[in-house]
């Protein structure tokens, strides 16, 4: 029993060691997002609070904490309060399986990629719960839109993951990274990387697929009735999810913690830094897309997901598996 508690204590310590940096980087990434967005539009962006405006997100968080939390009288109160908590928790628990380096991972489980996929498919519940419990038409319409959107794009993400798994032969994320030692999967599976990136945009409700919270038609979608800290939790969960999608993209396609070339000046930098560089690279791409691309119409979104991405990624599964079979490259023999 004593050993059990000591294990529990070290695990809690490790979890804190992972979560605190994730939360701080979420705050920083919001600042980066706004900065990139501003630079594309020739503005300055947040530059007042702290050096380069770095503490802007902290100031915002402080503001949210001191704002009043308003729960609408006709809302379903328990579900209304639970929704942001669910979003936030689901966004944070998926970080448990992301490998930051060799043996530098909180939970090195066999089905890591399935875990990530499962948790990201649960993410839709925070939005549906928030939209339904608000008992108001804009949140409800936003929630329905987002449920349809996330379910559609998960399908293509699942098929893309199958492509990668065919080349690896394991569901473990560390194995997926180690399989890319010679060649990052972004080179042979480049079309899949592009589709994964676009699907990740749709999955995290980022522009140009931000229809669930399209401010021109739905006020703020499922977040309309939320205020104060509860709104901030939705917001944090959303950005933690975006970071997670970037991490997933770097692990699946960009070789995770591996350095681009295995020679001296590159491999002297420790693995976690490489992963962070790759996440930042993908995130800046996310921010640039937000700044440059106009919003999709809803029928175009569905057409893209079901009629273009799904058939193409299924075709690529056939292509990848026949290539691996023909050249006898199938792993795990």
């Amino acid at each position: 029993m004593n050993s059990y508690f000591s294990i529990l204590f070290t695990e809690v310590y490790k979890i804190l060691f992972l979560l605190v940096p994730v939360l701080v980087s979420v705050a920083m990434i919001v600042w980066l997002d706004r900065r990139v967005w501003a630079f594309v539009q020739k503005r300055r962006g947040p530059n007042v609070v702290g050096p380069f405006g770095l503490f802007q997100s902290l100031a915002d968080a402080l503001k949210y904490i001191f704002k009043e939390i308003i729960i609408p009288a006709s809302s379903n109160k328990l579900v209304f309060v639970l929704a942001p908590v669910v979003t936030m928790t689901l966004a944070l628990i998926s970080w448990a399986v992301i490998p930051f380096g060799e043996d530098f991972v909180l939970a090195d489980i066999n089905v890591g990629i399935l875990y990530l996929f499962a948790v990201s498919s649960l993410g839709v519940y925070g939005i549906i719960m928030g939209g339904w419990a608000s008992n108001s038409k804009y949140p409800f319409l936003g929630a329905i839109r987002s449920a349809a959107q996330m379910v559609s794009y998960e399908v293509s993400i699942g098929v893309i993951i199958i492509n990668v798994l065919l080349c690896v032969g394991s569901l473990n994320l560390s194995d997926i990274v180690m399989a890319q030692q010679n060649l990052w999967f972004v080179i042979p599976l480049f079309p899949m990387f592009v589709i994964f990136f676009i699907s990740a945009l749709a999955e995290t409700n980022r522009p140009p697929f931000d229809l669930p919270e399209a401010e021109a038609e739905l006020v703020a979608g499922y977040q309309t009735e939320y205020s104060g800290m509860m709104y901030a939790m939705f917001w944090l969960g959303e950005y933690a999810n975006i970071l997670l999608m970037c991490a997933m993209g770097s692990v699946l396609f960009l070789g995770g913690w591996l350095s681009p070339i295995d020679t001296f000046p590159f491999n002297a930098i420790p693995g976690p830094f490489w992963l962070i560089f790759k996440i930042l690279f993908l995130f800046i791409l996310f921010a640039l897309v937000k700044a440059t691309v106009p919003r999709y119409r809803y029928d175009q979104l569905m057409k893209l997901g079901w009629k273009i991405f799904l058939p193409f990624s299924l075709f690529y599964v056939v292509l990848t598996s026949s290539f691996l079979l023909y050249f006898d490259l199938l792993p795990g023999k």
Binding site: M1, N76, V79, V111, F117, S121, M129, W132, V151, Q300
Partner: protein, 211 residues
């Protein structure tokens, strides 16, 4: 080991309570949320016995897709409920009770058959020629039998699902008149000659465009 059984009982308790709450709770949306909680705690139980692949697939398929569709439908019904059309509290003459009894009787006998077979022929599982080894992960061992010994059943179940999906689409599809569809090819292949027309306009008279 104590911690293991403590967690087992916690998860099973949550599973049972939420299963009861699915049928007891008055709000249908709450029922679906309890159903989701039930699925999640059952997948936790799967993970605890080492069947992590099944647990994750349970989460992805049931919680991530099926329950979302459930919630979708039930939320739509709930909009109608506020107008007092569905699920009104008045007694509907008890017509649903015989059907409910029939369904629960069938389920009860199915359970008896399954558990009875298991009880009276305990070597049934061992007689299947699957060698379970601890050296390979259970994802791999499922794959080993699913795509070799049971490939036909696997393909047939896939076919059935495909047919069901196509059937649902055919049943609900309606051709509607006056729907404007976007054709990317048509849009892109539009040229200046057919799109723009230069007209000599006469003063004070204007131009009549034949549309």
């Amino acid at each position: 080991m104590i911690a293991h059984s403590v967690f087992f009982y916690i998860f099973s308790l949550i599973a049972i309570i939420s299963a009861v709450m699915v049928t007891v709770s008055k709000n249908t949306v709450h029922s679906v949320f309890f159903l989701i909680l039930d699925f999640i705690s059952i997948s936790c139980l799967f993970i605890m016995i080492g069947a992590e692949f099944l647990g994750m697939i349970m989460l992805i398929v049931y919680v991530g897709a099926v329950a979302v569709l459930f919630l979708f439908v039930v939320m739509m019904l709930n909009v109608a409920e506020q107008k007092g059309q569905w699920f009104s509290s008045r007694w509907d003459g008890g017509t649903h009770i015989p059907i409910g009894l029939l369904v629960s009787l069938i389920i009860f006998f199915e359970l008896i058959i399954v558990i009875g077979g298991w009880k009276y022929k305990p070597d049934l599982l061992n007689s299947l020629s699957i060698n379970i080894s601890n050296e390979i992960t259970n994802t791999r061992s499922i794959g080993n039998v699913l795509y070799t010994d049971y490939i036909l059943l696997f393909q047939i179940s896939g076919m059935i699902l495909l047919v069901a999906m196509i059937g649902a689409i055919v049943l609900t599809y309606r051709e509607r008149a006056g729907v404007k569809r976007q054709s990317y090819v048509k849009q892109i292949s539009r040229e200046r000659d057919e799109g723009v027309d230069l007209v000599e306009a006469e003063r004070n008279k204007g131009v009549k465009i034949d549309a």
